[in-house]
């Protein structure tokens, strides 16, 4: 058997076994006449048929973990004081030095939000914060950067 021909075919055997070749006829014709390649194809089929799958429930577990991680990463927004949130909603530039005196402006909804409500909805807006509806994710991030919080201030 032509070695270079076998070399070409052997590269294709896994694709043929997986059923992804657009034209399998060439490989099939070769395998039918080449014991060596036919044996290799049988081995590949044997491996494919014993391909392990993830344990049941792992995907669910990963989904849960990833979502929880995303929720946690979204929370630093709410590490801001309610006053800072209100200030953002009003489009006021806020620095850490100006946050504290603005407590009296805190809207009621901002203080009553529960942790499980702090969630980034599918449209990219922060749930429970209708005042921020007009701001895009990029704008929100930019405003966050403008806030002079250190690592202990809450906002990451």
């Amino acid at each position: 058997m032509n070695e270079s021909r076998c070399g070409e075919m052997r590269e294709l055997l896994p694709l043929h076994a997986a059923g992804v070749l657009s034209d399998p006829a060439e490989v099939e014709a070769h395998v039918s006449s080449c014991d060596d390649c036919r044996t290799e194809l049988q081995l590949i089929h044997a491996l494919l048929s014993s391909r392990p799958s993830a344990p049941e429930g792992l995907a669910d577990q990963v989904v849960f973990t990833v979502r929880a991680s995303r929720r946690q990463r979204a929370q630093p927004w709410w590490g801001l004081t309610a006053a800072a949130v209100a200030a953002l909603a009003l489009g006021i530039g806020v620095t850490s030095s100006s946050v504290a005196p603005v407590d009296v402006m805190a809207p009621e909804f901002a203080t009553e939000l529960l942790e499980e409500d702090l969630w980034v909805s599918g449209d990219g807006l922060l749930a429970g914060a209708p005042a921020l509806e007009a701001l895009s994710d990029e704008a929100l991030e930019q405003l966050l950067d403008e806030l002079e919080f250190d690592g202990d201030g809450g906002a990451a």
Binding site: A17, R51, L58, A59, V63, V66, V120, G122, G124
Partner: protein, 185 residues
């Protein structure tokens, strides 16, 4: 078809990544479910312990999702995820080797879930036998064969995942296959 009617599972990885970046959790879930099996197999190929592989898969997905904004799309998402998984697995192995004097290569092969390990007829089952023998190959040969056959990766992609060149991935694959054939005779 209305774009909004298409289920996440019907979208391409590229579309799902773009949506996941925008905060679409259904897209994120779809990416996870689509690639959990492959990530598990990569992890298992390295550590050959199911529980350890599960932990690695979780860590890998967490890292991948956190780094999603930095994913440039030069490689397929699956390849990128498997590269992260392989890195996590190698890190886990380095930690184990620090504490465990027993060479990892001597570890018993992980039994296939579909096969009863107590069944002496296992040896007659070509598929289970092939899989058990695959597990005994040296690491790079094992990974090259597994990534080529189980995941359908190109040799270039295999090289990216395991940290070698395309040429080395090809050599490792064919050496691994040759050795398996010898053992199977």
């Amino acid at each position: 078809m209305n774009d909004g009617d298409e289920r996440p599972s019907e979208r391409s990885d590229e579309e799902l990544v773009a949506r996941a970046r925008d905060g679409d959790n259904r897209a994120l879930d779809a990416l996870v479910r689509r690639h959990t099996d492959a990530a598990f197999r990569v992890a298992l190929s390295y550590v050959r312990d199911e529980d350890a592989a599960k932990d690695i898969v979780q860590d890998a997905f967490l890292k991948a999702i956190r780094a999603l904004d930095r994913f440039r799309g030069d490689a397929a998402f699956k390849t990128w995820l498997m590269t992260i998984t392989a890195n996590e697995a190698r890190g886990a192995l380095r930690k184990v080797k620090r504490w465990n004097e027993r060479p990892i290569e001597d570890a018993a092969p992980v039994p296939d879930d579909k096969v009863d390990p107590a069944d002496t007829a296992v040896k007659a089952d070509e598929s289970a036998r092939a899989r058990a023998l695959l597990d005994r190959l040296p690491e790079k040969q094992r990974l090259s064969v597994s990534l080529r056959i189980d995941e359908g990766l190109s040799f270039r992609e295999i090289g990216d995942v395991i940290g070698s060149s395309e040429g080395a991935a090809r050599v490792n694959y064919f050496h691994g296959i040759r050795r398996l054939r010898e053992w199977m005779e």
